[in-house]
Symmetry: C2
Subunit: 789 residues, 2 copies
Amino acid sequence: MDAYWRASNYLSVGQIYLLDNPLLSEPLKREHIKPRLLGHWGTSPGLNMLYVHLNRVIKRDDLEMMYVIGPGHGGPSLVAHAYLEGTYSEVYPDISQDAEGLRKLFKQFSFPGGIPSHVAPETPGSIHEGGELGYALSHAYGAAFDNPELIVACVVGDGEAETGPLATGWHGNKFLNPARDGCVLPILHLNGYKIANPCFLARIPREELQKFFEGMGYAPLFVEGHDPADVHQQLAAALDTALADIRRIQTDARVNGNLKRPAWPMIVFRTPKGWTCPAEIDGKKCEDYWRSHQVPMGDMDKPEHIRILEGWMKSYRPEELFDGDGRLTAELAALAPTGRRRMSDNPHANGGLLLRDLKMPDFRDYAVAVQSPGAATAESARVMGSYLRDVMKLNLKSGNFRLFSPDENNSNRWQDVLEVTDRCFMADIYPEDDHLSPDGRLMEVLSEHQSQGWLEGYLLTGRHGFFSCYEAFIHIIDSMFNQHAKWLKVCNEIPWRRPIASLNYFLSSHVWRQDHNGFSHQDPGFIDHVVNKKADIIRVYLPPDANTLLSVTDHCLRSRNYINVVVAGKQPSPQWLTMDQAVKHCTEGLGIWEWASNDKGCEPDVVMACCGDVPTLETLAAVQLLREHLPELKVRVINVVNLMKLQPSGEHPHGLPDRDFDALFTKDKPIIFAFHGYPWLIHRLTYRRTNHANLHVRGYKEEGTTTTPFDMVVLNHLDRFHLVEDVIDRLPQLGARAAYFKQAIHERLIDHRHHIEKYGEDMPVISGWKWGAGSAGKAQGTSTKGDNV
Amino acid sequence: MDAYWRASNYLSVGQIYLLDNPLLSEPLKREHIKPRLLGHWGTSPGLNMLYVHLNRVIKRDDLEMMYVIGPGHGGPSLVAHAYLEGTYSEVYPDISQDAEGLRKLFKQFSFPGGIPSHVAPETPGSIHEGGELGYALSHAYGAAFDNPELIVACVVGDGEAETGPLATGWHGNKFLNPARDGCVLPILHLNGYKIANPCFLARIPREELQKFFEGMGYAPLFVEGHDPADVHQQLAAALDTALADIRRIQTDARVNGNLKRPAWPMIVFRTPKGWTCPAEIDGKKCEDYWRSHQVPMGDMDKPEHIRILEGWMKSYRPEELFDGDGRLTAELAALAPTGRRRMSDNPHANGGLLLRDLKMPDFRDYAVAVQSPGAATAESARVMGSYLRDVMKLNLKSGNFRLFSPDENNSNRWQDVLEVTDRCFMADIYPEDDHLSPDGRLMEVLSEHQSQGWLEGYLLTGRHGFFSCYEAFIHIIDSMFNQHAKWLKVCNEIPWRRPIASLNYFLSSHVWRQDHNGFSHQDPGFIDHVVNKKADIIRVYLPPDANTLLSVTDHCLRSRNYINVVVAGKQPSPQWLTMDQAVKHCTEGLGIWEWASNDKGCEPDVVMACCGDVPTLETLAAVQLLREHLPELKVRVINVVNLMKLQPSGEHPHGLPDRDFDALFTKDKPIIFAFHGYPWLIHRLTYRRTNHANLHVRGYKEEGTTTTPFDMVVLNHLDRFHLVEDVIDRLPQLGARAAYFKQAIHERLIDHRHHIEKYGEDMPVISGWKWGAGSAGKAQGTSTKGDNV
Ligand SMILES: Cc1ncc(C[n+]2csc(CCOP(=O)(O)OP(=O)(O)O)c2C)c(N)n1
Ligand SMILES: Cc1ncc(C[n+]2csc(CCOP(=O)(O)OP(=O)(O)O)c2C)c(N)n1
Ligand SMILES: [Mg+2]
Ligand SMILES: [Mg+2]
């Protein structure tokens, strides 16, 4: 085992340093060494030691185990093991198991045209890049859910442990059901240092550290030392204990039905950073110090450094490890598991291999009946919830679908799913608790990071899910989204990576309807963030009503390798399209709403475009005003449900060809575009379009507070009155008559202000407005009371 | 005390429900109640009880105390106390301390034209909005740093405690120096529930919870109960113990010089959510349950609900609390502290009151000598670090300047600051540790959330700082940035809020030079995110070299109420401007570089614009190629350092007037714009400009991996060769000659690829390229070894 460890250490150093002479069969020279040295040594020896010992128990007990590495900069280590186990050559035949393969393996690492320095999608057996630190435990728990036979060994860097997401990641144990789910074995890699600082967990008393983990509900096992032989013994013993505990817990749950939350084992692995590298280099402490974090010796033009490197590598005694041909000796090779038991070949780590389609009810069955546009009222989110309830129901047996939300499931009006499943909870449950159980498939924890991380882990291992979140707070996981989008982009370029289910976001409680809350809860900018990523990964939908939302939801759940962002409201609002119309509209992605337009058969004077539920409502109300007061005006109404349609077809696969865009939006007529988000996003998507100069966009411009729904749109000039004014301002041909109309409109806005300041709610003519009913209207309450029932 | 508590509870309920009849002097009717009920009751009674007890010890011991409320939806509570203490009426005279004032106080809450539902900037005594949960402890520690007399009582919601940022927030105690800093008294508000779920910390055994806090280095004190009288006793005792402990720790540190990390006290406050509201409503459990989270009873059209509300409010016995005039009885009023000792009037919570300017060295003294453009080489970030070292030095005595970084200070090349201060660390320190001490003013912890939260807390209480971060990972705090930007925007509208120092970001190790890392570390999108916020808050600078960076840094440290984002590299690179030129260039924000242009006295054929250090280098290299091969071509080079200059002056205060923009960028010539970030951001900023149709932008388009610096720009088509090709493609007048040139350029790109794949580093003609030196060049190494020294 120590020899196998030495072999992986040797390969790790070799990848960082060597261009050639991989077996050190001749004296090491400058030209054998890479000119630019890029990579991270410090974490690798510890990861290697852990890997070797996990292999021992996998083989002994025939375990299904995965390895998630928090400090993903330990790429050399995982590549080394995948290579030693043979997986690497199976996947990349060019990197063969001989001296030539070894040379290529070394050269390609962090080298142009080669592989990245991190545990990237290119690395077999990985679901976790670990470039941005903090998500290891969330990913590990996500992978373990609904995989009862799986053990996810999850290494946490002691630096990583200082991040927020990781700090809450430990609490995954309050949501892991020992009967239904697999298990996570966290291993704190307490090597004492991060890039250039000690880690605080390494500098608190041992008893404090012990309490830290016990307080988080674990039973910590300590493995501590500098001497490899000693640590080998300790680690083997700790792993034996851990596995026995896991088996005991699982048996107790599965056989005896004991679902009390157990204290799962975890391991504190305190060993030197950069272990086995030179203790000092140029008189400076290196091993067991942060200087070993990246490349312990940078300047290889110094001959003495070449000697040091050679000595260091030879200290692993490569001649005992590899035969003359560069192949791992048979005796060592026999220590590793084989086939799918190799952690580098675990199918869970290439989730697409295991992915099964969801059983799907027909979304049309959930349609809201819409006699005529605007006649019906519904809470879109709630309708979606009832559909998801049945998706959940149909897949309960397969156990491959979960919903995730940071304590907002009901607030985002998906409460119907509670009819078929519970909220998952492994801590104490009281009689008065509502739909709470260890078997729940609704994952609610007040952490966007944890929700996102769990979902990613779940998807990457071949399952399905949906994440519902307040629109403003989804920014909390902006950077996690980035990393997942980048992961998917790279996977698309790797033939052996199989497609996985898309990551689906449902953003509700959106900027326009933050009733209980105010300015801090208003931010529609996640879409802006999302569209920076590769077009072939990104999809953004803003369905204007429940039937379009149903159609979009169905589509998202069937799609693969995307990130789908769906934004829609939860408040009662008018419904525009029948299911039939909705399906067609969603298939097109955008289109003229004929029933709202009056330009058929001629050129429009103005195009009124809208995207998002609230902007659609305001646009239609504006159109009604226009048609009432300026009946000769030809108005075309376009609704956009698939935002990416606006981009040129060269920039996004969904993009509308210029020809079609010109036909819809005209080449020279004013376009008044009412948008859900920040207005410039529409400019950004359309600046190459012919008629861009005539495009006038209204949207959110950071004005808002706790006020009425209509006042929110007024504050941001997205309301019907401002939209009408925008039209008038852009149509000089309207002439003098328009002046009166404009004045009347201003008066309405003043009425509005007076009314809400007096009564605290919108004027009945606003809240009761209905399409086609003329300007009169009957007040319609907005509901806030449902928000936490 | 119980009466004072009842008074604040009464006011909290009143704010949520009442429009009129504030003293319940007549029977409660429907019209006394708001039509829309918005707000959060559940957390308020607990917050109120804590406030009252803190008041007792403040008064007894004459303490300087601040209150940070994690669950900021407890706005009614803090407003109630500010009102009871008189601060509210001092700040808002219209809300007087009589029945009429009370009526207005109630009405304005969550009402159009009134105040937000949360602890907003409008709330006197607050620095923490708490709308987005998770940052309470980071803010509290930031406020306590360098404020030795201050005690920050920090309430953490038990739901909030599940978030990542809060989970690592506890560890602030490893960085708080009891001699130099004030103290944070965390109070876990264990009311059991969040919006619609129990909290896991409320559902683990008491011993586990105790270990949880002991493991995090605290000495927890438990206060637990349902019976107010009993809890009053327990809480009073716990606070007495806590304050005695704090005094003991501080004395030990300050008098005896004991700087060993103490176990600071904290309080676990386990009381019912919604305490004192009806136990059940409509047969459903309300008090001590999540149903009390927002508005316990929504539908007030039911007469029985009106009766319940009246009974509930009368249970506080208002007639004993307020005199006939609606004024708090003198006896009760005397329980609160007075003047600046009132938590609602603590000057630290209006940091601008205490802000003192930094002593600043003359940044010109740190200038890199630049004989001619490109002649000198420097690491911009490093030069900035030497300047910051002296800013630090000059302000050591005032103790009002700190630097923050997630373990990246040296990696971002600010290591010179370690010459005058240390890294702050309160855990164990070993002899081999490097510049680590309890007195350090460089705050390094591997958490972007913690760094950001500390800095915000530090700034909001009137001090100064700078945050250095890898460009890609600053997205981790996107949402925290949002909240701070929103806070500043609102403060600008509140006359009594005094300006505070700007929040300064230095983003280095940027997308173009992620040497050790790869794709996961490449994301220049933070700027895109930033520009969504209000123009009067946001500033973005991309200085092309060290001298411009110095000038920008000086400017940022002097500015107030902004968020400044500065992006610049850390690698050795050519220096373009003398200090004199740099100051002028930064003052203008953008301008023609005459020495690089050859269009003086005539119209240019093409404008080559650039923004960011790497794009500037590539643009100049492209210009040199053009001028060498197509000498008759008139090229104008424009460099942009202040990104906001590109916006129209109507949209950003820095925006260039259209006239000036047209003069610089011409009305009709092609513009090739090389940009540091995502290219569409430039389109977004300029789409209204006359010449926008001729603008062609190159930037990052999500291509990249671990490769050479030049290859990164090639992969994204931002390199000199692609830029030259862009010019050729846009100037048909170049005709046939250009074809040969273009072919030559393609060949260079092929050479490049072959070279790097063979040698792993850039061709000497690329890495050694110098402005004005012709196409030959001498290789210049890139340095990666400095990254963790
Ligand atoms: C979120 C985040 N912030 C900063 C970094 C930069 N960084 C890369 S490695 C590292 C130190 C990691 O230390 P640790 O987790 O202890 O790993 P190990 O010691 O095993 O290398 C840091 C700060 C990062 N990768 N991710
Ligand atoms: C980051 C974040 N996610 C979600 C929410 C939505 N939210 C508002 S209040 C709340 C529950 C808060 O519970 P807790 O912290 O226990 O506060 P308390 O019980 O004192 O009201 C949630 C999830 C939020 N405000 N912030
Ligand atoms: Mg470490
Ligand atoms: Mg709570």
